[in-house]
């Protein structure tokens, strides 16, 4: 579980050309001559299809039930027919105001954290990758070593810290403690190390200031990792549960995960509950369809977390 310098797939790749090869890309670059199948093709497809149906069924059921009228009595298997469908339940769920508010909180929490994490980790990652200063490697590897400390160990003191500072039921209390993301820092530093020193020196000779080099040279060169880290951070915060659960205690400050998890206590009808889940899941689904490659890459990289 040690994270070594060479630990990230392709992270050290040359950034000069633009896209350093990442995990998801290499998955498509399969061996030219695939090994012969151990199983007959038909059996293979049958197994894959069964697995795909089992994997996809919960999503299908969620969508179909969310598209039933709010008071529909769910009977099986009849209710799983994708007909008749109505947007009524989704509208009711949104009109209640509650879910819309939770969605807003989720957006603030995940987008806010994502943007700040990308900025902080790329700034620090640039310094750790390209600057010479006393204690550079000692500081960097101490931070990486802290990955071993599980989140749950720090939960209680973190809560006390934030509550003493008055951060309970506030956006900053939600966001600020998650900003020093080790993962993001590690990926940023690894990728920025791939930028040739000559390019940075050349920019400096041309009279670019330090912030300008960072903003106009380094960041554009590592755009792929910025996208991947950003996406991964968005996803992580969107799905985060435990921290929002303890910090966002009031109804007004709940995120979607906390709100949806609490719907059961209110004895919500099944279609409405599924509508809540659907509304929480659809943004993820939309981003996934657009940026699937980055998602796969982000997931591969998250593996380095351990």
């Amino acid at each position: 579980m040690t994270v070594t310098e060479s630990g990230t797939g392709g992270a050290g790749g040359s950034a000069g050309g633009g896209v350093p090869g990442g995990g998801a890309d290499s998955l498509d670059a399969a061996p030219a001559r695939p090994p012969r199948a151990g199983l007959p093709q038909v059996a293979r497809y049958a197994a894959l299809t069964v697995a795909a149906v089992a994997t996809g069924f919960p999503f299908y059921a969620m969508m179909v039930i969310a598209l039933k009228p709010p008071t529909a009595v769910i009977e099986l298997p009849g209710s799983l027919w994708p007909w008749p469908l109505t947007l009524e339940t989704l509208e009711t769920a949104l009109a209640g105001g509650e879910i819309a508010r939770w969605a807003l909180n989720s957006v603030i929490y995940s987008v806010g954290s994502m943007v700040i994490i990308v900025v902080l980790s790329s700034l620090a990652g640039y310094a750790f990758a390209k600057k010479r200063f006393v204690g550079r490697d000692a500081i960097f590897w101490s931070i990486i070593a802290m990955m071993m400390i599980p989140y749950h160990l720090t939960l209680v003191p973190l809560f006390i810290l934030v509550s003493q500072a008055g951060g309970i039921n506030s956006y900053w209390g939600l966001i600020v403690p998650t900003l020093a993301n080790v993962h993001a820092l590690f990926l940023m530093r690894q990728f920025i190390m791939g930028i040739p020193d000559e390019m940075i020196d050349a920019a400096r000779v041309d009279g670019a200031g330090e912030l300008r080099i960072y903003w106009s040279l380094v960041l554009p060169l590592v755009r792929p990792i910025v996208a991947t880290v950003g996406l991964f951070m968005f996803l992580w915060h969107w799905n985060d549960f435990l921290w929002p659960l303890v910090v966002g205690q009031s109804e007004q400050m709940r995120t979607l995960t906390v709100g949806v998890a609490g719907l059961r206590q209110q004895e919500t009808l099944l279609p409405l509950e599924m509508a809540g889940v659907a509304l929480a899941f659809l943004p993820i689904m939309a981003v996934y369809l657009v940026a699937q490659r980055h998602f796969l890459q982000a997931a591969m990289m998250s593996g380095m977390k351990g």
Binding site: P34, P35, F59, F241
Partner: protein, 320 residues
């Protein structure tokens, strides 16, 4: 948010003291020393915001957690040292012993399930052919889904009149109380975790499978090796580092399972799915016994560490 970074432009006069001779830039001249100092100042300014936040919100709580486990603390601010009291209480707390057992049983069920499942799926999907990309996308969908959202759907599927029981009745079997049976609840939760995680592990295995030389596999087959022999003696050795990695992260994940339990069972029936992290949450945030909850966290960390080390030994010193 740029509030932290706005010190650097000032440390940054336009073109510095003539870096013209960039080829011999490490000359030990006076200018070189000045440049190096300036570079260090800028570097510190760049890492300062990150490092400050890291110290406050990662290092302080980690140290604080150990300190807190030897103390009593209330939200009103009363603090007192209690020595080993919390740890002694843990030893004699039947709820804690039960949580340990539940966590261990859950891990023993969930880890093999997801490791074997994802390995099988990787082997099935590894040969690029029509549709593999679609399958891969579908298998990956649960990975991105919060276990809170997934848990709500699965709770319904496994409920007494949910989809699974309807299916069982449809084929003439009787329905099963999946979530209210103390023996079934952990396998059910493990199945949901497996559903949520196998797509990720599958990707790790797929990447590792790329390193298996095709020629070697074909040669083995030509020599008459069976499917199993090829897998066992040609493919599996190449998967060792990936296998180690997946086993370790899945074990860590299982030890720390929380979301899905909170949503699907709330630790029940009785306490049969109350894991260590669930107990930590209840002690800390329902009973506000912060010191006691911190002690649970420290024990959890110690167990995770020991298990990871043991697994490291078991797999040899393979690097991930």
């Amino acid at each position: 948010m740029s509030g932290h970074t706005d010190t650097s432009p000032r440390v940054d006069p336009p073109p510095g003291p003539e870096p013209q001779s960039s080829g011999a830039r490490r000359a030990a001249s006076r200018a070189g020393v000045l440049l190096r100092r300036r570079e260090a100042r800028i570097a510190y300014a760049f890492i300062l915001p990150y490092v400050t936040l890291f110290l406050i919100f990662r290092v302080v709580p980690a140290v604080g957690s150990v300190a807190l486990s030897f103390a009593d603390y209330s939200l009103a601010g009363q603090f007192s040292w209690v020595g080993l009291d919390h740890y002694e209480r843990l030893g004699g707390d039947p709820l804690f012993v039960e949580a340990l057992r539940v966590t261990a049983v859950y891990t023993v069920i969930a880890v093999p399930l997801v490791v074997v499942g994802s390995l099988v799926m990787a082997l099935l999907i590894r040969r690029p052919s029509r549709g593999t990309k679609v399958f891969r996308s579908i298998f990956f969908l649960p990975v991105m889904t919060s276990l809170v959202f997934a848990g709500v759907i699965w709770r319904w599927i496994y409920s007494d009149n949910g989809a699974l029981n309807a299916m069982l009745e449809g084929i003439g079997l009787s329905s099963v109380p999946w979530l209210s049976n103390e023996l079934l609840v952990l396998p059910v939760l493990a199945s949901v975790a497996t559903w949520a995680r196998f797509g990720f592990d599958m990707l790790i295995f797929l990447a590792a499978l790329m390193s298996v030389p095709v020629e070697l596999e074909e040669a083995a087959r030509v020599d008459g090796a069976s499917w199993w022999q090829v897998f066992r003696y040609v493919v599996l050795p190449h998967l060792r580092p990936a296998l180690f990695f997946v086993v370790v992260i899945e074990t860590v994940h299982s030890f720390q399972v929380f979301d899905v339990i909170y949503v699907m069972t709330a630790g029940g029936p009785v306490r049969s799915s109350s894991t260590l992290v669930f107990m930590l949450y209840q002690r800390g945030f329902e009973y506000f016994e912060f010191g006691y909850a911190a002690a649970i966290g420290v024990v959890l960390f110690a167990i995770t560490l020991v298990v990871a080390i043991v697994q490291g030994r078991f797999f040899g010193r393979s690097r991930t």
